[in-house]
């Protein structure tokens, strides 16, 4: 039995809807991981211990355990505590927080690497430390970590396939649905791979654009 890609077009709309869900979950989780990463970094560096400690613990949990387990915990585990999240929301939270922890590590290093003269210049103008961080230090730190954060976001896109296991019908799950009907795993997984690659290219293009836009501000 040879390969037969003629079965694909009949399921193309299913697959394309899967692509859209993949993009939606990736974009939402990426935004959460970006802003969450900044928040965690600021807490880790500057907050009092009663905020810093839980965030440390949380970071350690998210870095030291499998993402798959985290998704199960958020989607199935929280129900027991009376928190019944829709699968999409649970997926965004799981992916977003997981990568927020990694982004936070990058941003912390970058914040500490910003020349101390920047903080001093802002303080001599009369800015409070919080204002100086918000307007001067953090924007520069974030600008400096755009390339590695971009890499994290590509990893996030690929890991978004994991949310198929909690029933978000994104690209991987829709491909599996099509395979279930047609018994053609190679064809549909190959098609899914191509679509992942295309979305990946799109993300890289966006990242390059952002890098170009910020190139003057170094």
């Amino acid at each position: 039995m040879g390969l037969d890609f003629t079965v694909v077009p009949a399921y193309l709309d299913t697959i394309l809807i899967g692509v859209l869900w993949t993009i939606a979950i990736t974009v939402c989780a990426a935004l959460l991981s970006f802003f969450g990463g900044i928040l965690f970094a600021v807490i880790a560096l500057y907050a009092p211990w009663f905020l810093r400690l839980p965030v440390r613990l949380f970071a350690w949990l998210f870095m030291g355990t499998p993402l798959l387990l985290q998704l199960f915990l958020i989607y199935f585990g929280l129900v027991e505590l009376g928190i019944d999240l829709p699968a999409f929301v649970a997926g965004v939270i799981g992916l977003g927080l997981h990568f927020a922890v990694y982004n936070s590590e990058l941003i912390q290093t970058a914040i500490l690497a910003v020349d101390n003269g920047q903080m001093e210049a802002a303080r001599t103008l009369g800015c409070s430390r919080a204002q100086a961080l918000r307007k001067v230090v953090i924007p520069q730190a974030v600008r400096d970590v755009i390339p590695p954060i971009g890499n994290n976001m590509i990893a996030l896109l690929k890991d978004s396939a994991l949310v198929s296991v909690i029933g978000v019908s994104e690209l991987t799950l829709s491909s599996q649905l099509a395979i279930g009907r047609t018994y053609r795993p190679f064809e549909f997984y190959a098609v899914a791979a191509v679509f992942y690659y295309v979305v990946n290219l799109g993300m890289e293009a966006v990242m390059r654009r952002i890098e170009r836009k910020t190139s003057l501000s170094r």
Binding site: A121, T124, G126, S128, V136, Q140, L216, S217
Partner: protein, 276 residues
């Protein structure tokens, strides 16, 4: 109007890093509108003193007063932060390495603090930026980023940024030391202009000619103490203290050596050009 208090009043300033005494009981005052130069060998505590005035480095002893208000007041943390931020708005500072905000345009460098701290609208802030940048001759570069400017241009923007907060007092810490020689003059001109407008200024500098032509008073510091002070004509031409004489002698020799080296480099470059 006679003032009951001195405009800037530094009383028994002391600063130590561990065992290292950097400022040893320094007292000095500066009048409103006065322009004071601080000179002295590197490591003598000039920057530390200047930075103590806006509490960028806190003193370990003594007091700093500005216009009748103590800057380094002993207050609980939160109250102190509020107090010091208000005081710092009145004191502009210019650094050797400019410390412009590289992620902001020239315009936003100037307007960031006034918008944030004085609640200026975008329109008011734009007007302010245009005025201040025009004042330092940088209006045409208003939409550039710092990375696109020369050192002299950066320093002029940094001065405009400080002036945009309408400070009562300006502090300059070797504002031209990091500049290529040909870019020094444009910054000096801006500072001269400020002097003509009677801005109160404390200027840490290695440029004796500039200090002599602009300043009302020269303070010579060495090893954490004020050794000698007076009008430039006296301190430069007729110093009484041996340490001052020695410093000026060394400085002059260095200055000559540097000029000679530059001249030699220039000649060498010209010879090379000729050989090609």
């Amino acid at each position: 109007m006679t003032e009951a208090h001195k405009f800037v009043d530094i009383r028994h300033a002391q600063k130590a890093y561990g065992d290292l005494e950097v400022l040893k009981d320094i007292s000095l005052t500066v009048d409103r509108g006065e322009i004071v130069a601080i000179i002295g060998p590197s490591g003598s505590g000039k920057s530390t003193l200047l930075r103590a005035i806006n509490d960028l480095d806190s003193l370990t002893g003594g007091e700093v007063w500005l216009d009748g208000v103590q800057i380094n007041k002993d207050l609980p943390y939160r109250q102190y932060e509020k107090h010091i931020n208000a005081m710092r708005q009145q004191v502009g500072m210019v650094f050797q390495h400019f410390n412009l905000f590289p992620h902001l345009s020239v315009r936003d460098n100037v307007t960031m603090a006034p918008k944030l701290l004085k609640g200026l609208s975008d329109k008011e802030a734009d007007k302010l930026a245009e005025e201040q940048l025009n004042h330092v001759g940088m209006l045409e570069r208003i939409d550039y980023y710092p990375s696109q400017l020369s050192g002299g241009q950066k320093q002029r923007v940094a001065i405009a940024r400080a002036l945009a907060m309408q400070p009562k007092l300006m502090l300059f810490d070797e504002a031209t030391s990091a500049l290529d020689p040909e870019l020094v003059e444009e910054v000096n001109l801006v500072m001269k202009r400020l002097a003509e407008e009677h801005m109160t200024m404390i200027i840490v500098t290695h440029e004796m000619d500039f200090a002599a032509s602009v300043c009302d008073r020269v303070i010579f510091m060495d090893k954490g103490v004020v050794v000698e002070q007076g009008p430039p004509s006296v301190v430069f031409q007729n110093p009484t203290e041996e340490r001052t004489k020695e410093f000026l002698r060394k400085h002059l020799a260095q200055h000559h050596a540097q000029n000679a080296a530059e001249a030699a480099a220039l000649t060498a470059a010209q010879t090379n050009e000729g050989a090609k």
